[in-house]
C-alpha cells in the first residue's frame, strides 16, 4: 500500500509532495502536491496550494486547488482559492470563495475558431501543391463573409428602430444624474 495519512493530531509546516495517495486529517501549512488521490478530511486543513489527480475535500483549504482529473467539494468543505479541474463538483453545504474553472474539455468560443481556421490552411498545403492553397483560403474567406453578411443583415434592422436610440439616450441621462 502506498497511501499516506497525515493524522488528526499532526501538523506539518512545509511542503508535501510525492506519488501515491494522501489523506489529510490534520493540518498542513504549505503546498501539497501529489500524483494520486488526495483527500482532505472534515477536520483537515491546508494552508497552501493543493494539487492532485482526484481531490476530495470536506475540510478547509486556503489556497488554489488544482485537480488533473477532478475536484470534489463535499458538504462542510471550506475553500478560499481558485478551483481548476476538468471536473468540479460542489455539494450543497460547501463553501467556495474564488474562481472556479473547468479546464480541459470545453474551450471558450473565441480561442477555438482561430485555432481551427489556422489548422485548415496548414493542413491543406501539406497535401496538394501551392496553387490549391489559394482555393481553401478562398473557400474559407467565402464561407465566412456570407455567414457574417446575413447576420449583419439580420442585425441591421434593429438599429433603425428609433426607440432603441431613445432608450440609450435615456440611459445616458440617468447615468449622468447618478
Amino acid at each position: 500500500m502506498n497511501g499516506s495519512v497525515i493524522g488528526r493530531g499532526t501538523v506539518v509546516r512545509g511542503n508535501v509532495r510525492g506519488s501515491g495517495s494522501l489523506e489529510i486529517l490534520g493540518r498542513v501549512e504549505g503546498d501539497v502536491s501529489v500524483s494520486g488521490e488526495l483527500v482532505v478530511g472534515e477536520e483537515g486543513a491546508v494552508r497552501g496550494s493543493v494539487s492532485g489527480t482526484h481531490i476530495t475535500c470536506s475540510g478547509a483549504i486556503q489556497g488554489d486547488v488544482r485537480g488533473s482529473e477532478a475536484v470534489l467539494l463535499e458538504r462542510g468543505a471550506r475553500v478560499v482559492g481558485d478551483l481548476t479541474a476538468p471536473r468540479i463538483g460542489v455539494a450543497t453545504g460547501a463553501l467556495v470563495k474564488g474562481l472556479v474553472r473547468t479546464d480541459g474539455e470545453p474551450a471558450l468560443g473565441t480561442p477555438r475558431r482561430p485555432a481551427v481556421a489556422a489548422a485548415r490552411p496548414i493542413a491543406f498545403p501539406a497535401r496538394p501543391a501551392a496553387p490549391k492553397v489559394a482555393e481553401p483560403r478562398e473557400e474559407v474567406s467565402d464561407s465566412e463573409p456570407p455567414a457574417k453578411e446575413p447576420k449583419a443583415a439580420r442585425e441591421a434592422p434593429p438599429p433603425p428602430v428609433v426607440p432603441a436610440l431613445a432608450k440609450g439616450a435615456k440611459a445616458k441621462k440617468k447615468k449622468r444624474e447618478d
Binding site: 502506498n2 499516506s4 495519512v5 499532526t10 501538523v11 506539518v12 512545509g14 511542503n15 509532495r17 510525492g18
Partner: protein
C-alpha cells in the same frame, strides 16, 4: 493503524509535529516531533532531528535523535547522529555513527 503515515514516494520538507504515532516510509527533511512513537520503515530516508516517546529505525536517519523512552536501531537500519534516550538497542547489522547519551 498509525495516526500519521508518510508513505513510500511521499516527501515532506519542513516541520512535522504530532501527538500521535508517526510511521515514515518515505522522505522527510526538516524536523520530526511527536509525543508518541515513531517508526522509520526500511524504505524511509530522514534528514531531520527526531524527537519522540520511542523510536524504531529500520531505514536511514541523519540527525540527532531524542526519545523519552527508547530507541531501537534494527538490522539494516542506519543512523548518523547523536542519540539521547533512556534505553538503546542496536541490532546486529545496523549502522550507527554518533554519540550516545543515556542520561545516567
Amino acid at each position: 493503524m498509525a495516526g500519521t503515515v508518510i508513505g513510500e514516494g511521499l516527501s515532506i520538507e519542513g516541520d512535522l509535529s504530532s501527538e500521535e504515532e508517526v510511521v515514515v516510509q518515505g522522505n522527510l527533511r526538516g524536523k520530526l516531533t511527536t509525543t508518541d512513537a515513531v517508526s522509520v520503515g526500511s524504505s524511509a530516508v530522514i534528514e531531520a532531528d527526531v524527537s519522540a516517546q520511542s523510536l524504531t529505525i529500520a531505514g536511514q536517519v541523519t540527525g540527532d535523535v531524542t526519545a523519552a523512552e527508547r530507541v531501537d536501531l534494527q538490522a539494516g537500519g542506519r543512523l548518523i547522529g547523536d542519540v539521547k534516550a533512556a534505553r538503546l538497542t542496536i541490532a546486529d547489522g545496523a549502522s550507527f555513527k554518533g554519540n550516545v547519551d543515556m542520561d545516567v
